[in-house]
Amino acid sequence: MRKITLFLLSSLLFSMTIYAGGYQVRLQGNKQNGMGLVGTSLNMGSSSIFYNPGALSLMKDKFHFELGASGIMSNVDFQRAGSNENYQTDNPLSTPFYVYGAGKINDMIAVGVGVYTPYGSTSKWDENWTGRLLIETIALKAIFVQPTISFNFNEKFGIGAGFILAMGDVKINKDLNYSGDAEANLEGSTTSYGFNIGAFYKASEKLAFGVDYRSEIMMKMKDGDATFTVPAALQTTIPKDNKFDAELPLPANLDFSISYQATEQLLLAFELDWVMWGTYKSLDFTFKEQGALLNSTNPREYKDTFIPRIGAQYKLNDQFQLRAGMYYDQSPTNEKYFTPETVSLNTFAYTLGLSYSPIEKLSIDVSFLQLFGQTAEKEYTPSNFKGTYQTIVYIPGIGVSFKL
């Protein structure tokens, strides 16, 4: 029974859809989700493990736990250049999640651990779609485990750091231009390391500042499994079973944030996230056998992006809190190298949230996001693949937080 549950969890929880900005997913707390994903200058409890470890030692409660997930429903429509042929993705529901637990050792030190999923991408195009020689399905998953320690100098200023253990895997399927059902399947997994550091400064009862840096993590795939299905006559040239190496960067983030308690009820927050996508230059595959024929270098040439966010929280009464926010997420993609594997358009999003506390210790947090990818004609020049993309994404989420 436990095995089955674990299996269900792994198949359900670990798969994620792109929703904006490359393959980053920032749904790491349902309170923050409701506020335009602002979090670095907020002190919402144990979710500070992700948003700002510096705030953790300043949390109000002795112990704090959070658990939650979101369901990403993403739809992409593609129209081939010079034609009225449209193709859609049939992306499965993907469910990024988070679990945090933190406790104060004394007034100055807090420790905690978080498990969360900040990167992922699942695109599933129709098996007969026009770009199937570029990509048919891709599933990229990463799960982070982060033990964290936080220290405050006084009631106003805290710093914190976490060590990140990152486990990732990737599955890629695409067709090959041979007769029959010729295709390539690549599958690999890897473990890597990184860190998350932050500082939190509560300047006054009303004003707080936060800054947080999460390091780049290079996911290096070694000896992944490659399976090629080709006509019999070609099997000596393209062996069925092969191994491949590849690496994919999970970019660094530097987040700046300010929050302001305007009235007793109203909290306003602003944030600017610098996502260092510039590190993603190229996706290269190196094969163990027949490398001269099969190796490929696929330029991506991403650029850094800056995401402005704004969020608000309104305390209706002791039971209810309402939230809203919005943000604009630039596409990090390059004009010449936009691929249908990660349909990342300039995206505008609004967010809504609600918390309900039936008892003082417990809060049920729900959020809803809607993302609109700006319609744009894009091209992947190395394959001469061109067309217009549009995306709409809905993300409902639910979580609970519990304090002692």
Partner: protein, 458 residues
């Protein structure tokens, strides 16, 4: 209170059900009328591939692909004179398969694909939009009786046209006009040089330019009489096709081994070409035949050397860089019967530089006429000659598919090395669409090349 929640719920459901929709392209006919499209031409228009006109190959003809796209801008269904056999009307269809050569080496390559042919008794008795006839030259489209079975014996009729000619003495162009076309494509002239080229300059003659111009103009004038608009395409340099570029001229490879050294001594010795070289020197002629270890140019027959008063057995020489061997050259004869070294390769398998010059000159002259005709009549025009030169030099990539002029692996030419693969036909159809859209301000949707089959591997 409850009603309000219901309202919110309904609003949420509405928001969630809204899907992205891209609608950037609206098909339109521009200033042309595509109601009745008729395609005139040769084997390329007919849908000939892999050495035959067969059922599925015909269904992937570029003209059929174009005809289907035109139905989105007011065109009526495009009807082809359907071939019912997968093996064609005449034998000769190729497929990729394994064969064992004279040395006992098994390799993958084109092999004959024999099967039950299209029955001769069946005559296409419905009106067709595709009147492309494999083998037709420009003059043939004007010739009455080109589809009359009684003329086959005399070589004045074409079996493919016999299959679908509306009446025995109708000409191809007259049959096209009987459809009252509102739009036409005319891609003709290839065979006016190709027949000469594929016979190694030995079995056919290039149509004289003046005649070509006269016939071509007659065709175009007839086609536009009813006010029809159309598209013309020129002749791609045939010598860029895989048929002429696959077998290198220096295919005689003498290994650095005792056997190779021995063979070399014979070839260069008194029982080989030494007397030939001495004779040529004595006559003051520049011809020499010498072999060395490694790749060597083939020895060929060159009847043009008769102009030096040489007897037939001395009208031979080694090929020079730039001359071409045809795909039809029997490989086993090279490997096991000393063709190209001890035995000169017969003329019909080779294009000499003089023959290539003739072909190039004719292609340029014909293409000038075609371009002029397009300009004079305000017709759309596709410059396949330039396209072919470009693909030959740089290759082409489309939806992740790489094309080149290489045989089999290039994916552009089918297994006969001249006609197109289905994906090649789709590329060609898109070039036609670009030209038509440009000339008439139309918006004909282009096809997805990836939706068409590549070369089939066993």
């Amino acid at each position: 209170m409850k009603i309000r929640y219901l309202f919110y719920l309904a609003l949420l459901a509405f928001i969630v059900s809204c899907k992205p929709e891209v609608n950037e392209f609206t098909p339109s006919n521009g200033s042309a009328d595509f109601k009745t499209y008729v395609a005139l031409g040769n084997s390329l228009t007919a849908g000939y591939a892999d050495g035959a006109l067969y059922k599925s190959g015909q269904s992937y003809s570029w003209s059929n692909i174009l005809g289907q796209q035109l139905t989105t801008v007011g065109g009526q269904p495009f009807v082809q004179p359907v071939v019912t056999s997968e093996f064609g009307v005449l034998p000769g269809k190729r497929k990729l398969g394994f064969s064992v050569d004279c040395l006992g080496v098994t390799s993958l390559g084109p092999v004959l694909d024999n099967g039950e042919l299209d029955p001769w008794s069946t005559h296409v008795d419905y009106a067709v939009n595709n009147v492309g006839v494999p083998g037709a030259k420009v003059a043939h489209l004007l010739a009455p009786g080109y589809g009359n079975a009684a003329n086959l014996q005399a070589g004045l009729a074409n079996p493919y046209f016999v299959k679908f000619a509306a009446s025995p003495d109708i000409s191809v162009v007259a049959q096209a006009m009987s459809m009252s076309p509102t739009f036409f494509s005319l891609w003709i002239g290839n065979n006016d040089v190709l027949g000469y080229a594929t016979s190694g300059g030995a079995g056919d003659v290039i149509t004289p330019t003046e005649q070509f111009g006269q016939y071509y103009n007659m065709l175009a004038q007839t086609l536009v009489t009813g006010g029809a608009k159309g598209v013309l395409a020129n002749i791609p340099g045939v010598i860029n096709t895989a048929f002429f570029t696959t077998i290198p001229s220096d295919v005689i490879d003498i290994p650095d081994s005792p056997e190779g050294q021995g063979y070399l001594a014979i070839l260069n010795g008194e029982h080989g070409y030494a007397p030939y070289n001495a004779f040529m020197e004595s006559k003051g002629l520049p011809y020499r035949i010498t072999f060395s270890i490694g790749p060597n140019q083939m020895v060929i027959q060159d009847p043009a050397m008769a102009s030096y008063g040489l007897p037939a057995q001395l009208q031979i020489r080694q090929m020079v860089e730039g001359e071409l061997a045809l795909l039809t050259l029997p490989q086993d004869s090279i490997k096991c019967a000393t063709w190209g070294s001890a035995v000169p390769v017969p003329n019909q398998y080779i294009l000499t530089q003089a023959e290539i010059d003739n072909i190039n000159a004719a292609t340029i002259a014909f293409n000038n006429i075609i371009k002029q005709t397009a300009d004079d009549n305000g017709l759309a025009f596709v410059d396949f000659n330039a396209i072919m030169v470009d693909i030959s030099a740089n290759g082409l990539i489309f939806d992740g598919i790489t094309f080149s002029t290489k045989f089999v692996t290039g994916n552009l030419f089918s297994l006969d090395g001249i006609h197109l693969t289905p994906q090649g036909n789709a590329v060609v159809a898109n070039y036609f669409i670009d030209a038509i859209n440009g000339q008439y301000g139309a918006q004909i949707p282009k096809v997805s090349v990836a939706n068409y089959p590549p070369i089939l591997f066993p």
